[in-house]
């Protein structure tokens, strides 16, 4: 591991600011790390030439005194973000050869703020998955291993490539997207920080859509401060996304005061689910204690409709996905099956060849729940449940400032362990989905290790557009947890 890849983004920023390192040096070190980490399959597309060009341009800007918020910082970009002229796959065969003629707003914001792109990170196909095993480009390996067990583990999903790259020091940070936990759960599995901001905080324009009412971009980093810096560079109102919110973007780093005295932290009793490993319960209790020690006041709260969240999510998300994925028809871009004799056959052959099993499963579920005769029983009911879940949070926030819960019900599992059990796979999202349905900001902070030496995260859920409190408390958790463990695999070591 190079000295330059092991550091945090904020440390790298400080070195760049002081002129102790150039973006070119920093980027070169990371280009090598990306290469060294290939066994993880964290990147679908590496863009070393582009990275070095961007780094040189960044150094030139800095020389002119024009440094942005993430000036010169090399990043991985989840391959769900459209990047102009660079292959964008969404982890799917059906987007074969697709090079967008446009740049997503979020990545555009990052480049405008000086960042450098190392490549496009692997992900579950169309962000549908919790283990990164549904990618057409193959599963991603988690850089962590269980103690005394060398079986490769999943990095979580769907932002598995982003999580693995950041954890393995093959990127200073990465973008992720979170629909039902796709940033937070892999962050937890990979021992890094992952933040899903409030729905509407980051523009969705140019991000390949999975479930439009839930999708939200966010940072994946090795510290809470890094997440704050990244979020500031990613967020902002965008006229091209009608659901993005016209609010000023604060300097989130300023929120990291470490002072949470008197803050009320809600502990939702419904998150204590059956079959949850004791070590996760213990970690949660530890988290409560840490926040209490820092002067916060834990408050037992109830989010009574929590157990309806997962079923509602697995109706709403596939419903929207079934419609969002209709455009992949072989007519205009991406894969087109050969030998079709009719338009119907073109659709059938292209979509049969182009979509993987999980995507097909969700398109079918989504089509079913929107069908005449089933619409009210499924889709409409799920929407009502969603409203009630948001109401639960709304009620809770009358009493508390932030909510603390585990991020995931387990540590990383082995590749292949759950592929044939979609229900068990979906249960991974049980703690992350409610905040997604309510559109609330949430962060996962690495807080400890499981019995067999795997990272476990704790999750903080905040009020809408109150990312600052989430980050502030996250910073306190991070300080208390002193999570300095490193994964088994570190690029270049």
């Amino acid at each position: 591991m190079s000295e330059l890849t092991g550091i945090t983004l904020s440390r790298a920023r400080d070195l760049l600011t002081k002129g102790e390192v150039s973006s070119k040096e920093l980027t070169q070190a990371h280009v090598q790390a990306v290469e060294a980490a290939r066994s993880l399959n964290a990147y679908i597309t590496e863009t070393p030439d582009k990275a070095l060009k961007m780094a040189e341009a960044s150094d030139a800007r800095r020389a002119k005194g024009e440094a942005g918020v993430v000036e010169g910082i090399p990043l991985a970009v989840k391959d769900l973000f459209c990047t102009e002229g660079v292959l964008t796959t969404a982890g799917s065969h059906i987007l074969d050869g697709f090079k967008p003629p446009y740049e997503s707003t979020v990545t555009g914001n990052l480049w405008r703020n000086g960042a450098v792109m190392l490549g496009k990170a692997n992900l579950d196909e169309f962000a549908m998955g919790s283990s990164n095993e549904t990618s057409y480009h193959g599963p991603v390996e988690n850089p962590w291993r269980r103690q005394g067990d060398n079986r490769p583990l999943v990095p979580g999903g769907s932002s598995g490539g982003s999580a693995a790259a950041v954890a393995a020091r093959a990127a200073l940070a990465a973008t992720g997207t979170d629909t039902g936990g796709s940033i937070r759960q892999p962050a937890s599995f990979a021992g890094i920080v992952g933040m899903k901001p409030t729905y509407g905080r980051c523009s969705r324009w140019g991000i390949v859509a999975f479930a439009s009412s839930l999708d939200q971009a966010g940072p994946m980093t090795r510290s809470v401060r890094d997440a704050a810096i990244m979020l500031r560079a990613m967020a902002g109102h965008d006229e091209k996304d009608s659901t993005s919110v016209d609010l000023p973007v604060p300097d989130y780093e300023q929120a990291l005061t470490g002072d949470i005295r008197g803050l009320k932290v809600g502990i939702p009793r419904e998150y204590r689910v059956e079959g949850m490993p004791q070590e996760i319960e213990a970690l949660w209790q530890q988290g409560i204690q840490w926040l209490k020690d820092a002067g916060a006041e834990p408050v037992d709260i109830s989010l009574p409709r929590t157990h309806y969240a997962l079923p509602a999510y697995y109706i709403i998300a596939p419903a929207e996905a079934s419609s969002n994925l209709a455009r992949y028809d072989g007519v205009r871009f991406g894969l087109r099956a050969e030998g079709a004799g009719s338009l119907e056959e073109l659709y059938e052959l292209t979509r049969e060849a182009g979509f993987g099993r999980e995507v097909k499963r969700r398109v079918l579920i989504g089509t079913y729940v929107l069908s005449a005769g089933y619409y009210d029983a499924y889709y409409n009911k799920a929407r009502k449940v969603r409203t009630l879940i948001a109401q639960d949070f709304h009620d809770a926030y009358k009493e508390v400032d932030v909510i603390l819960a585990p991020t995931a019900p387990s540590a990383a599992f082995a590749i292949g362990d759950l592929v044939d059990d979609p229900i068990a796979m979906y249960l991974n999202d049980v703690f992350t989905v409610p905040a997604s349905l309510a559109g609330l900001p949430a962060i996962s902070v690495p807080a400890g290790l499981s019995g067999d030496g795997l990272p476990l995260g704790l999750q903080l859920i905040g009020k809408a557009f109150d990312e600052e409190t989430v980050l502030r408390v996250g910073g306190v958790l991070e300080d208390a947890a002193q999570f300095t463990h490193e994964p088994a695999f570190v690029a270049g070591r």
Binding site: C82, P101, Y102, V208, S242, S322, R327, L343, Y379
Partner: protein, 484 residues
């Protein structure tokens, strides 16, 4: 007016129709993208990544299109809903890039309203409007460019449409025609749709059912995409006749979608109910509900032009026109303006007669629109003035008008040039009459025997002798003196 009935073997049948009109909104850019909407561009030259359904692209509502739809709603005397929702209508087709059409479904922008039909006999028939909603158009599939291939043109993809749905209040092909024309007239007055059916900016689906007069509604069939007023009228008749024959033969009308074949003059089944699409409508998560503020509607209301119905009333009251003439004159805003320019300071009825008579006749004959006519309102007005001050007779005026139309010259110049001024000099007229009387002793005798018709013959002779320039009123008076 007598009700429209179709005679069957079992008696008379009544036809019940409702129309769904797709009207393209006049706007520079599309409903959800900034791409241009102009008709006739090079294929795929007016397509943004949003219109092409590219990954990650998002729709953003065009405020101007909403304003146009609100304006139209107000023109239809309809309820403007302050809260409406865009939904996705999901189906696969090659020229539907997103795999769904963004449309309004459960909560449309505009609710119930009324359109009044002006029938030729002066009867006014109200037709209820069920709703008006906004939606995006699809692209175009071209199947005839190369064998075995279909070409797609997405220029139209994403263009804003208003779907205007009538209640089943239409009872005859003639009413259906009048409805389309009235709607078109209102849209054109408002400047919200150009109403051009040939270019597809106004398209029509017809719901047709039949029943015995007074019975409950029959099962309806939808006849899709009928694209001229004439075809709409034919299609209704053809479809109603088919349904009647079917029922009278003991069959049953099945709810289905049908196509009208104008060459064969019949409708044929396109898809049955069981093949009907399940469109899986759901609110488009990319768009927020459309909230229309009250003061916006009020501002639009304040800017509304005078619409055909009000204008017609004003023409009847202020100009003393008959309902039919008034209706004809207000059908197009330009025509109404033209008429008012001609009538300004002149006899309104004469002006109306000339505009609807000679002028429209010449336009139709030449197949030109008002803005292409060689005679403008000022020129026609001058001609009427020459008539009013007895410079020329009405008969001569018709000749002068013809000449004006052909040459583009002004009436005064033509009258001068050709010496068409009326002869009003008593001495000159008397000399002419004396000559005619002297040459026709036989006819003089007939008049003296009391045959008044021959008096008219003398007038004709006098006019002939003067090349029509004699003042007919004076000729009459002088003849009466001489022969009476």
């Amino acid at each position: 007016m007598a009700s429209y009935r179709i005679a069957g073997n079992t008696g008379e049948w009544e036809v019940v129709c409702g129309l769904e009109i797709h009207a393209q909104i006049i706007s520079k850019s599309k409903l959800f993208s900034a791409a241009a909407t102009e008709f006739g561009g090079e294929p795929n030259s007016q397509v943004s990544p949003v219109d092409a359904g590219m990954p990650g692209m998002l729709p953003v509502i065009n405020r101007f299109c909403v304003e146009q739809a609100i304006k139209t709603g107000l023109g239809l005397r309809a309820q403007i809903n302050r809260h409406s929702v865009f939904e996705r209508k999901n189906y696969f087709y090659a020229d539907l890039p997103q795999g769904y059409q963004i449309s309004q479904y459960l909560e449309p922008l505009v609710g119930e309203g009324t359109v009044y039909l002006d029938m030729p006999d002066g009867e006014v028939i109200p037709v209820g409007i069920e709703r008006l909603h906004m939606e995006q158009d699809a692209g175009k599939s071209l199947h005839d460019q190369e064998p075995g291939k279909t070409y797609i043109d997405l220029n139209r993809s994403g263009v804003a449409l208003m779907e205007i749905v009538s209640k089943p209040d239409i009872r005859s092909p003639e009413q259906a025609g009048a409805y389309i024309q009235k709607l078109r007239s209102i849209l054109r007055y408002l400047g919200t749709c150009d109403g051009n059916m040939a270019e597809g900016s106004l398209r029509c689906d017809i719901n047709v059912s039949v029943r015995k007069p007074g019975a409950g509604l029959g099962t309806r069939c939808e006849v899709k995409n009928v694209n001229s007023v004439r075809f709409v009228m034919h299609a209704i008749e053809a479809e109603a006749t088919r349904q009647i024959e079917l029922i009278e033969e003991g069959g049953e009308v099945i709810q289905e979608t049908r196509l009208y074949d104008p060459r064969k003059g019949e409708t044929r089944s396109m898809r049955g109910k069981e093949e009907a699409h399940d469109y899986r409508y759901f609110p488009d998560p990319d768009l927020l509900p459309l909230i229309v503020e009250n003061d916006w509607v009020e501002r639009i209301k304040a800017d509304m032009p005078e619409l055909p119905d009000e204008k017609k009333q004003r023409f009847i009251q202020d100009y003393g026109l008959g309902a039919y003439d008034a209706g004809v004159l207000v059908a197009e805003r330009e025509t109404a303006d033209f008429y008012e320019d001609v009538a300004n300071g002149r006899d309104a009825k004469t002006a109306a007669n000339w505009v609807t008579g000679e002028f429209f006749g010449a336009m139709n004959k030449a197949g030109v629109d008002l803005d292409e006519a060689p005679v403008n309102a000022a020129m026609l007005g001058e001609l009427l003035d020459l008539m009013a001050d007895n410079t020329i007779s009405g008969r001569i005026a018709k000749d002068v008008f013809e000449e004006m139309w052909e040459t583009g010259k002004k009436a005064g110049a033509i009258v001068e040039e050709k010496g068409l001024k009326q002869i009003t000099d008593t001495g000159e007229l008397e000399a002419i009459l004396d000559k005619v009387i002297a040459e026709n002793p036989e006819q003089v005798q007939q008049v003296k025997d009391g045959n008044q018709k021959v008096m008219g013959w003398f007038v004709g002779q006098a006019m002939k002798a003067t090349g029509g320039k004699a003042n007919p009123k004076m000729v009459n008076e002088l003849l009466r003196k001489k022969l009476g």
